[in-house]
Amino acid sequence: MKEKGNFNFLKWIKSAKVNKVLCIITFMLVPLTLLFVFTYLPFAKMIGFSFYDMKYIGGREFVGLENYLEVFTRDDCFRALKLSLYYIGASFIQLALALYFASLLSFKTKASGVFKGFMFFPYLVCGIAVGFIFKFFYTRGFVLDTVLQWCGFELDNLPYWLRDTKINNFSVAATSIWRYMGQNMVLFIGAIMSVDSSLYEAAAIDGASGWDKFKYIIFPSIKTIIVLNLILSITGSLSAFEPPYVITGGNFGTGTYFVIMNKLAHESQKVGLASAMAVVLLVIILIATMLQKVFFRYFFGEGEEEAIRTVRKRQKREALEKQKMANGGGVS
């Protein structure tokens, strides 16, 4: 810079190019710092912890991969992961309901705003509060039992919703449907709104029924957002924590992977092992997400892209037709 001789710092800093760069940096600095300090730094630390035999307080000892080995040899870790199936099942129901209500409410429905509000409301309630609400909801002789008794059920024939190990996981997973359905619905409504309304008019002129409209217009147009929601719900199911932790405390066979992890870390002070569990779960979630992406690309396509399966089918069909043509030509 000295070579230029007449370098003017003030001029340099005021120049448009530099200003642009400075702007970008200052704006990015805050979120990036936050992201680094509160996400990546703790995460890196956690990976470090997973190689130690350590407690929160006191010395630590390097044990290499022993914690990881233990995660895979313990029977409770992966058994807990099976519970995620309940939550995955719940997330399918949740998305189906959300899609149904979204399709209904995005057309002219009376008081649709009120319904949207009511259905979105549970999402705004803090997860811990939701837990307490449902604890009372499921208590013997309380809300659910009373309502069912109005419907003619006898109290003696009703199960203990949280005690009976056959159904308690359904009860707990159902709370997450209640909580997240509204949020999914609002996202779907947003996506449906963005569909060109002239398509509906055209469909109406052609005499399409409601189901036809859904199948041929809505579904293909919001495919991407459905897939996104599905992926989010399934990865969320793998790390389900709040409902079982608050409602049952993970007792009576409702302890999900996260609850077990929390117990190991806080009650048995096995911080290293719990960190290893967290890393393993992360890897599992990454794999699950990738598998889902591949799966959806194959069956539904991504964005504007056509599904790989459809493309292949078409190619096959075309090839067949060509062959037929060629064969047919030969015969005649």
């Binding site: 760069v21 407690k55 929160y56 307080i57 208590t139 007792n251 048995s268």
Partner: protein, 468 residues
């Protein structure tokens, strides 16, 4: 240009981040230097004469407590009283709801306040890194009962002073027991079960009646209360924790004479199995249970003596609430375990003035505040008498767990953590018992005992414990 821009961005970002990190680091360093400038802190609790020494000390104290319900009322009165003697000491209480979990994390930051209740997660050999010593055990033992100073003592120095001492028994509703014809208190597990059955039969037609014994299962920590009965109280042996549990071979096995850990756990198993507890343990209500036992809708609850005043305050029938020893008799004699509740500790990183003020306040809390008695316990001062609610314990020998031998101070915690049975920590055993007893085809007691023994033995072997 693009490349340059990227480089510039990268450099600035890393610069900013290291700077912000360095800023955090340098603050810590400053603080440490300050501490070093202070002269070594040598004051001990026994040297302080309340109201005479250090009355001009100036300090702001922050007090972390688990008693969230007392922060705005009782503790404020304490501060006012204390400030009459020490006008320049300001105290600010912070109540933490999930105390047992949160405090460990807070402690590791070093900058959490001046006084807290020492959590069980700090191993004894780590105590000196976090807390100020109150003095030598033998010296403090002149005015305080030495048996209660062991929990947080390491190489003869005491790092935690008990806020109160609890007795372990069963809080029950006298009227419910008497109405059912149980006039003599049960002394063995069998008698206890029979008494509960009588109560259940007596209350058969009472729709409001909840259960002869309420487990409070859903509150979680209430289950780990059961662990407090398995040592001294169930064996009469003050050294049982060390010789029987930590170093004992298969400590959970049936001893055949209705004593020891097995007797306690089996009582819980049978109570649940025979349907003498609430129908659905997953939806119990801790706050509600206080009113229920007060109104006679619950027969009894297995909780430390600290629970008495809370149950008395649960409704209008304070006089019906009484306390009895756990129904286990060893060689014709009943024992009750007594042990310190949460202990006060002072931050080792505080300034000398703060440490002095904190020590004065803790001494005042123990000796003058009346906190222990109002909470259903005793103070731990030598020769302190049992409060009225506990007079029945006059005829019963109190057993206080002995300290572990030198060099083995952390052994119990190590084995306990390693085994994941969480004795006195998580209540894993009592919770498992309730679950299995309720299930139709749940595990039987003997299978669970086998499982615990195996876990315990493996953990013992991991820590090189050899059986004699």
């Amino acid at each position: 240009m693009r490349k340059n821009f990227k480089r510039l961005l990268a450099v600035t970002l890393t610069g900013a981040m290291t700077l912000s990190l360095a800023a955090c680091g340098s603050k810590d360093d400053d603080k440490k230097k300050d501490d070093k400038k202070d002269e070594a802190f040598t004051l001990t609790l026994d040297q302080i004469k309340l109201g005479e020494d250090y009355t001009s000390v100036k300090a702001d104290l922050k007090f972390l407590t688990h008693k969230t319900d007392k922060v705005d009322n009782t503790f404020q009165d304490y501060i006012k009283e204390f400030q009459k003697l020490y006008p320049n000491v300001n105290i600010e209480y912070e109540g933490i709801t999930d105390y047992a979990n949160d405090i460990t994390t807070r402690l590791s930051t070093g900058d959490w306040g001046e006084i807290c209740m020492v959590p069980t997660t700090v191993d004894k050999d780590e105590l000196e890194n976090y807390f100020v010593s109150f003095g030598n055990k033998s010296k403090l033992g002149e005015s305080y009962d030495e048996r209660f100073l062991n929990n947080y003592a390491f190489s003869d120095k005491v790092y935690g002073m008990p806020s109160m001492v609890n007795l372990q028994g069963i809080v029950y509703n006298k009227k419910v027991f008497e109405e059912a014809g149980v006039t003599e208190l049960p002394k063995t597990p069998d008698e206890f079960l029979a008494a509960l059955k009588k109560i259940k039969d007596n209350k058969k037609d009472d729709k409001k009646f909840v259960a002869p014994l309420y487990t409070n299962f859903a509150a979680d920590w209430t289950m780990n209360a059961w662990d407090a009965y398995i040592d001294g109280g169930a064996t009469g042996d003050a050294d049982f924790v060390n010789t029987g549990l930590t170093k004992g071979k298969e400590p959970f096995s049936d001893r055949g004479d209705q004593t020891g850990p097995y007797a306690v756990y089996n009582t819980l198993y049978e109570v649940v199995k025979q349907g003498l507890t609430e129908e659905d343990p997953t939806t119990t209500d801790w706050e509600g249970s206080k009113g229920m036992i007060n109104r006679g809708e619950i027969g009894c609850m297995v909780l430390g003596s600290w629970a008495i005043p809370q149950m008395q305050a649960g409704g209008d029938n304070a006089d019906d609430i009484a306390y009895m020893p756990f129904p286990i008799t060893v060689n014709g004699k009943q024992y009750a375990a007594a042990g310190p509740d949460y202990c006060y500790g002072i931050n080792v990183n505080s300034s000398n003035d703060q440490k002095t003020a904190a020590m004065c306040y803790i001494k005042w809390l123990i000796e003058k505040s009346g906190f222990a008695e109002s909470e259903g316990g005793i103070t731990g001062i030598k020769g302190s008498k049992l409060p009225d609610a506990l007079t029945i314990f006059d005829s019963i020998e109190l057993v206080v767990n002995k300290a572990a031998a030198a060099g083995e101070e952390t052994l119990f915690n190590d084995v306990n953590n390693d085994s994941e049975l969480g004795i006195n920590v998580s209540g894993a055993i009592p919770k498992q018992i309730v679950e299995e007893a309720i299930k139709k085809d749940g595990m039987e007691m003997k299978d669970m005992v086998k499982e615990w023994n195996e876990k315990w033995t493996t953990a013992q072997e991991n820590h090189d414990i050899k059986f004699e």
